[in-house]
């Protein structure tokens, strides 16, 4: 048991584990992770089954990667705890012991004789320490007084706080992976959908794609979502990339969108003096049909070609996906009887390829294409992550610990006062692991101040 503890508390184990984790992690970035079996066979041939067997294809979630991480965590716990006890004792119940010889062996040390009495000397030292914000502890025994002055004691615990932070982060990560939940909602405009496990619904009120002035590059995707709880609208907010909405432990993100292929919105106009003004403009997508006001007429759009071409056999297709010669195949009917049917062209409103059953019937004009219509569906990711709070707490501890460890160096000055032929022999040494230069100069100043008093 003892040897196991010694093994688990050794820094050598930590170093070995870190090296293993580093090497294995590198491997994981060289092999693409979590792809299909077919892709691995494609890429690695006969090696593929072995790689999958060894979990090298899903390395970061594999049992043995987790074992290494857990061992490192255990090592950190044991290491920190075994060092914490002596450190706490040193902080709160230090053994005030000092010998002149050992003090003088320290790099920043010195001795001098004071003309005061023992008590007065101690008072002078306490004052000098207090002026430099040192907290003093004192012990008198016989003709000796020992004084320890300390400041920035928290700096001693920097590495412990770092390690605690890392363990809290790990705990958060475990909670995240065990209880975390995410779902992707394909939301259609105007419709509400229940967020799985969340006990509320969201409705997509509108979905906008914003473009930069160049008209090409997307500036933002924005969904206006309304949260509905038990049929009641609770809140309405815009969700965009980098700006999620948090509600009752769930966070809703703008993930992506779906635009049905080749489905632009086309604008048609019916030219007919008898039609009322309101019925004239009709918006359709391919495959849709719509009534023309209350006239009893129906306009349907069968097909759309962005770059219309007809070959020698009369076959119609698109030369490209560019809107070079947009054409629409439309039918205008009344009670099942086709009045007008054929192709109309956006670039050539005067020209058409249509059959008309009546000579003086309405004419269809292809007015406009709206290709940059907002997409049909907004994909919203709903995520519940109970570990995330611990992650942020751990990060805070980690950063605080690093700052303490590097930039809050504990300083300790030890004094030994001994009576010697009506004078007081003062021996002192300054101890500190980091930033020795500053400690040195502080010690020199302190020493000089005492010297000047004699």
């Amino acid at each position: 048991m003892k040897s196991l503890m010694r093994f688990l508390s050794s820094v050598k184990l930590a170093i070995t584990l870190i090296i293993i984790i580093v090497v294995v992690s590198i491997l994981g970035t060289l092999i693409p992770q979590e792809r299909s079996a077919a892709e691995y066979t494609d890429r690695y041939g006969g090696l593929a089954p072995l790689l999958m067997r060894l979990s090298l294809t899903n390395l970061y979630h594999s049992a043995w990667y987790i074992v290494f991480l857990s061992l490192l965590a255990l090592n950190t716990v044991v290491c920190t705890l075994t060092r914490l006890g002596p450190k706490l004792r040193r902080t709160f119940r230090p053994r005030l012991e000092a010998e002149a010889k050992t003090l003088l062996a320290v790099k920043d040390s010195g001795s001098l004789k004071m003309n005061f009495g023992l008590k007065e000397t101690a008072t002078a030292i306490r004052k000098a320490l207090a002026a430099r914000r040192y907290k003093a502890r004192e012990k008198a025994e016989g003709g000796r007084i020992i004084i320890f002055g300390r400041k920035k004691v928290l700096g001693w615990f920097g590495s412990e706080i770092v390690h605690l932070g890392l363990l809290v982060i790990l705990a958060g990560a475990i909670i995240s992976s065990l209880t975390g939940f995410r779902a992707f909602l394909k939301l259609e405009k105007g419709k509400a959908q229940a967020v799985p496990r969340a006990g509320f619904e969201v409705r997509l009120d509108r979905f906008d794609t914003e473009y930069y002035p160049d008209g090409q590059n997307v500036k933002d995707w924005k969904s206006r979502l309304t949260v509905i709880e038990g049929g009641r609208e609770v809140r309405t907010e815009f969700v965009e990339v980098n700006r999620p909405l948090a509600h009752k432990g769930f966070v809703l993100y703008q993930n992506s969108y779906v635009q049905e292929a080749k489905s632009p919105l086309l604008v048609f106009e019916l030219l007919d003096p008898v039609l009322p003004e309101a019925a004239k403009k009709i918006l359709l997508r391919p495959g849709q049909s719509a009534p023309v006001g209350k006239t009893g007429l129906t306009l349907s759009l069968q097909r759309f070609e962005p770059d219309f071409i007809r070959d020698e056999n009369g076959l119609i297709s698109s030369r490209s996906e560019e809107l070079n010669n947009p054409a629409a195949q439309v039918t205008l009917s009344r009670a099942g009887e086709n009045l007008v049917s054929g192709w109309v062209f956006a670039r050539f409103p005067e020209f058409s390829m249509t059959h008309e059953s009546q000579a003086s019937g309405p004419t269809i004009v292809f007015r406009d294409i709206r290709p940059r219509i907002s997409p049909d569906f907004s994909i919203i990711e709903a995520a519940q992550d109970k570990g995330v709070a611990l992650i942020w707490i751990g990060c805070g501890l980690l950063m605080a610990g690093l700052c303490l460890a590097f930039y809050w160096p504990t300083r300790e000055v030890r004094f030994l006062l001994e009576e010697n032929k009506n004078k007081i022999d003062v021996t002192a040494a300054a101890l500190g692991a980091k930033n020795r230069e500053a400690l040195s100069s502080e010690f020199v100043g302190l020493f000089k101040e005492l010297k000047d008093q004699t």
Partner: protein, 272 residues
């Protein structure tokens, strides 16, 4: 008002001048040369700063959203870190090596391989976290770069001292200490910018703070190697040669995380 390209080129020329001065300084140890080198580099840095501000104002976003911008910013951060460290620790002999690194980054940024036109920011990058995450990470890496150079100099100085040749410039002991001080600045910055703020932003933008994306994994690897450096040094008392070698490896890993991952591995961070 000068254009951004002119400002950038002016900085480039001044850096080349500083490099030349530091090169002369390698052979003729006159303190005036070191001061001239430092001032020329600082002048270059001022032009470079203006170029970065100019680009920020014109583009309306942080000056590190593509490879050209971030290389230029990294060169800027490296030089700024060096100029500060040189003020504190007086290491003008590192100036020559350091300006080679800075100039290499600048020339790489200036090469035709790097598209320089300002492109509008994709939605995923429109966040103030971009400023914090990238600038702090690169600043941390800049201090790793100084540690890298001083570690190389350490190895050279140690070899020289071993042969008992007359020591030129800084002692290996001092270089070892400076290298540690640079890591002591770089490591907390890298932890904050690369890992902590990276996680915060990932959580805001992608809905998960960690996704084992290659760039994340390589950042973690870099972080682990510098953690190794600190443990071996502070707990096991490793110093000198072994510490220097770990620092060199750590910097090369940081460089790969920054540069290599974008070109050799694919993942979520493929913005450049």
């Amino acid at each position: 008002m000068m254009s951004e390209t002119t400002l950038f080129k002016a900085a480039l020329v001044l850096y080349a001048c500083a490099l030349a001065i530091y090169l002369v300084f390698q052979f003729r140890k006159k303190e005036k040369l070191a001061i001239a080198g430092w001032i020329t580099a600082l002048l270059g840095l001022l032009f470079h700063t203006t170029a970065l501000i100019h680009r920020t104002v014109v583009s309306g976003h942080a000056p590190f959203t593509n490879m050209y911008e971030s290389l230029s910013f990294l060169a800027w951060a490296c030089l700024a870190a060096y100029l500060v460290i040189d003020r504190v620790f007086k290491i003008p002999r590192a100036g020559f090596l350091f300006l080679i690194v800075v100039l290499a980054l600048m020339l790489l940024a200036n090469s035709p391989l790097m598209p320089k036109e300002i492109t509008p920011l994709v939605p995923a990058l429109q966040s103030y976290w971009l400023w914090l995450h990238v600038s702090i990470t690169l600043l941390g890496e800049a201090f790793f770069a100084v540690a890298f150079i001083t570690s190389l100099m350490y190895l050279a100085a140690a070899a020289r001292e071993k042969k008992n040749r007359k020591p030129g410039g800084l002692s290996s002991e001092k270089l070892d200490a400076i290298s540690y001080r640079c890591v002591a600045v770089g490591f907390p910055l890298f932890t904050l910018g690369g890992l902590v703020l990276g996680m915060v932003w990932a959580y805001k933008a992608w809905g998960t703070y960690w996704s084992w994306d290659p760039k994340e994994v390589w950042s973690l690897i870099t972080w682990f190697v510098f953690a190794l450096y600190l443990h071996t040094r502070l707990v096991m008392g490793w110093k000198g040669k072994r510490s220097a070698i770990i620092t060199i490896i750590g910097f090369l890993l940081a460089l790969f995380t920054y540069f290599g991952v974008n070109y050799l591995l694919t993942g979520l961070h493929s913005y450049a």
